[in-house]
């Protein structure tokens, strides 16, 4: 706007309402995404190797999970192929006592943290909603309603701080999720409460088909931080050590009482939104290819090579990593091919601490139906089951509709 002369003749006593509460400049992100790969920066060799092994395993995990959808063993799989650096770095930046708050795309982060992949995939397999004990694993349930997990992370981190525990919560959200009101409310609460929470936005360029330019007009998503009074950091999301460094610094700051941080990691989803999505409807091959050239695994492998870290006393890191990845895939495949044990009566469990009268009646009804059905099955009864045991994705559902 026009800047008029302000000689400052009028200077009210600064009332408490509008004294700046924080210096804005330190909260603003750097101009360029933060990077370590190729910079010659001093880096811990063990960390680089660990990241590499995890990236390779993560990629294989993504491939295997996608394959399982084709075999009808998963209802749906939203792959994080291309985003493994973010997923893995998020997991490794946390300590044992810290909590991870994943969105529906982030099973890999949970697995990289040590969660059993079969448990992590329960939601997407479809035998139950959440397949693990969040308290035991310090991994919140995968959140399907976008951005709704962010205030949970804030509340948990705040509670831990009130209890005097050194617990940090790291919450994952997508670029699309930043548009939701819950994102706003969570970040504001976090900053006002100075809660030990780190928000990692994986900006993969799309919310399903909607590109970032239709999602926001902000210079970067990291710029949103200043509006809450927390630091915003921009990082190359395909540079695993850079993401790890930025997150570790933010986690450490949070742990020390320094409050929340918003981190935007710029990355790309190489696969379609889910196995059911057709990404060619909204993006072209050239764009995908450009990003393939910046694959997080290739980048890290080049760095390891340039530092002569790929071979170690006769063992080739690439081979070890690949073998470990294959082992994970084989185990996952085998265990996912086993039919899950399903008890329909479990539908009435845990709706409340105790079943209400209403639920006891309904449970009795189902029990009777199941008994009748068993009898009928024996007698090759005509009444059919309404739906197949392994329902497919939306695209498959045609066969399912009557």
């Amino acid at each position: 706007m026009t800047v008029l002369a302000q000689p400052g003749a009028y200077r009210p006593v600064p009332p408490p309402a509008w004294r700046p509460r924080a210096e804005a400049a330190p909260l603003l992100p750097d101009e360029e995404p933060y990077r370590l790969l190729g910079t010659g920066a001093e880096l811990d060799a063990a960390l680089l190797k660990e990241l590499y092994a995890q990236l390779v395993k993560g990629r294989r995990y993504n491939q295997q999970a996608t394959a399982l959808t084709k075999q009808g063993r998963l209802a749906v799989y939203p792959s994080s192929t291309g985003q493994e650096a973010c997923e893995v770095a998020a997991a490794l930046a946390l300590r044992e006592q810290d909590w991870l708050f994943p969105s529906y795309r982030d099973t890999l982060a949970a697995v990289a943290r040590g969660l059993d992949p079969v448990q992590a995939l329960t939601l997407l397999r479809g035998d139950w909603h959440c397949g693990y004990d969040p308290r035991a694993t310090r991994v919140a349930p995968l959140s399907t309603p976008l951005a709704t997990q962010l205030p949970h992370a804030v509340g948990l981190a705040h509670a831990a701080r009130l209890r005097g525990d050194e617990v940090v919560a790291l919450a994952l959200v997508g670029d699309g999720g930043t548009s939701e009101g819950d994102f706003h409310e969570a970040l504001n609460f976090a900053a006002v409460w100075q809660a030990p929470v780190v928000f990692l936005v994986q900006n993969n360029g799309y919310a399903i088909s909607v590109p970032l330019a239709k999602q926001t007009a902000a210079p970067t998503l990291a710029h949103k931080a200043v509006g809450y009074g927390m630091p915003g950091r921009l990082v190359d999301g395909n540079d695993a050590p850079a993401v790890h460094a930025v997150l570790t610094e933010a986690v450490t700051r949070a742990r020390r009482g320094g409050g929340p941080t918003l981190v935007e990691a710029v990355t790309y989803r190489l696969d379609a939104h889910t196995n059911a999505d057709d990404a060619t409807r909204y993006r072209d091959d050239a764009e995908v290819d450009a990003w393939r050239a910046h694959d997080p695994i290739t980048l890290l492998e080049a760095e390891l090579a340039s530092r002569d870290l790929l071979e170690d006393g006769g063992t080739d890191l690439r081979v070890t990593a690949r073998d470990a990845a294959e082992a994970l895939a084989a185990d996952l495949r085998a265990r996912m091919h086993a039919e899950p044990v399903l008890d329909p009566m479990a539908l009435f469990d845990h709706v409340y601490a105790e079943r209400t009268g209403q639920l006891r009646e309904q449970a009795e009804q189902l029990r009777a139906e199941l008994a009748a059905h068993d009898d009928a099955d024996d007698a090759d009864h005509a009444h059919h089951a309404d739906h197949p045991d392994h329902p497919g994705t939306a695209d498959d559902a045609e066969g399912d509709a009557r």
Binding site: A75, V76, Y104, L123, L124, R125, G126, D127, W128, H129, T144, P145, L146, G176, G177, S179, E180, G181, A207, I208, S209, V210, K214, Q215, T216, R281, Y282, L342, P344, A346, L347, F348, V351, T356, Q358, L359, Q362, L366, E369, L370, A372, H373, A382, H383, H384, A385, D386, H387, D389, H390, P391, G392, T393, A394, D396, A397, E398, D400, A401, R402
Partner: protein, 361 residues
């Protein structure tokens, strides 16, 4: 799906060109989702005030492809990919309607309409009343609802109980391809806000239908008898209509002639058609996927009983989803009211004369 019969009553034409149904050789098996898309296309072509907005409705054509091609045909200003924020979408639609547009909002899945709940209840439903009629909001909110498609949690809710309890909203739900087109056209043409509930698992169900000469359908507020019967009435809507028709077919083998009423319009509710049927049959069952407690079935059973008490041979029963969070894909078939559950309820309709019972009546 075999529910194309228009049922009883004189069909009033919609805004679409009416035709003599059956005469046209262009009628062919058409999925319900396609008829919805056609309704949007025709409404947009007819009235430049009609705008479609929502997540992924443009380039992608929606995750169910209902809006496929609209952005290309009418431009991105008419069919707009919005930021990912449901309250913002519906709130913006309110403003657009205030300026004279007729927004059609797509919510991607039922549970993802909840963030817009305040906008819906506190503004959309009330604006006309608040302003003494000065500011009607001709907004259509399309909500894919219900289960049966193997969706993971939060993708299969039946949320109609929330909407019917909110005065100021019309709540419609088609079960046939003709209604998908006709009711959606009526919803868009209505000067009142409409929550238009689309049964997800019927998106791919087909009826014989001609997009160039859409079958005229009954107006908003009218229920339709989809199958005539004398033994008892099944009151149902949306995804449960085909289930009830199948149950009625199966029941015939056991000597029951079940009448199936497709409610179509939960608000306004067609007491006339419903009560006429129940008075005729003397017995009724409400069938829906939504949970039972506090669900639409309670309202329907209560009002039918108030109006038809002396015609009832048995209490109005309810066959509904259980009162649990919607189950995971592998268990949903145990939750969804299917043919067996409907037939079991029919069994319980006190066919032995009640006079032989000891009760207080």
């Amino acid at each position: 799906m075999s529910t194309a019969a228009t049922g009883s009553g004189a069909a009033r034409p919609t805004a679409a060109p009416a035709s003599a149904p059956g005469a046209d050789p262009a009628r062919k098996p058409t999925p319900l989702a396609q008829a919805l898309g056609q309704a949007l296309r025709d409404a947009m072509a007819e009235d430049p005030a009609v705008h479609v907005l929502g997540e992924d409705v443009g380039t992608l054509g929606g995750v169910f492809r209902v809006t496929d091609g609209l952005a290309k045909e009418f431009g991105e200003d008419r069919c707009t990919d919005t930021p990912l924020a449901e309250a913002g979408i519906l709130g913006a639609a309110v403003g657009m309607a205030m300026y004279g547009l007729r927004p059609v909002v797509e919510m991607q899945f039922d549970a993802f309409a909840y963030p817009a709940f305040e906008q819906l209840v506190s503004h959309v439903a009330r604006m006309r009343n608040r302003t003494r009629g000065a500011l009607p909001l001709p907004i259509t909110v399309r909500v894919p609802y219900g289960g049966g498609i193997g969706g993971v949690e939060h993708h299969s809710d039946s949320s109609e109980a929330y909407y019917i309890a909110t005065p100021g909203l019309h709540v419609l739900t088609p079960a046939t391809v003709a209604d998908a087109y006709g009711l959606l056209r009526q919803a868009i043409a209505s000067d009142d806000p409409v929550v238009f509930l689309e049964p997800k698992r019927l998106y791919w169900a087909k009826d014989t239908w001609d997009p160039a000469h859409p079958t005229p359908v009954e107006p908003i507020g009218r229920a339709v008898v989809r199958r005539a019967g004398t033994s008892a009435t099944l009151l149902t809507y949306g995804p449960s209509v085909p289930v009830c028709l199948e149950a009625a077919e199966a029941a015939r083998a056991e000597g029951w002639e079940l009448e199936v009423v497709d409610l179509r319009s939960l608000v306004p509710f067609d007491d006339e058609t419903v009560c006429a049927s129940v008075r005729r049959t003397g017995r009724a069952i409400v069938v829906h996927e939504s949970g039972s407690f506090g669900g639409p079935g309670g309202e329907i059973a209560a009002r039918v009983t108030e109006r038809c008490f002396h015609h009832l041979e048995a209490p109005v029963l309810r066959v509904a989803g259980f009162d649990i969070p919607y189950p995971p894909p592998m268990l949903e078939r145990h939750h969804l009211p299917g043919v067996d559950r409907v037939l079991d309820a029919v069994d319980r309709l006190q066919w032995e004369s009640r006079w032989t019972e000891g009760g207080g009546r």
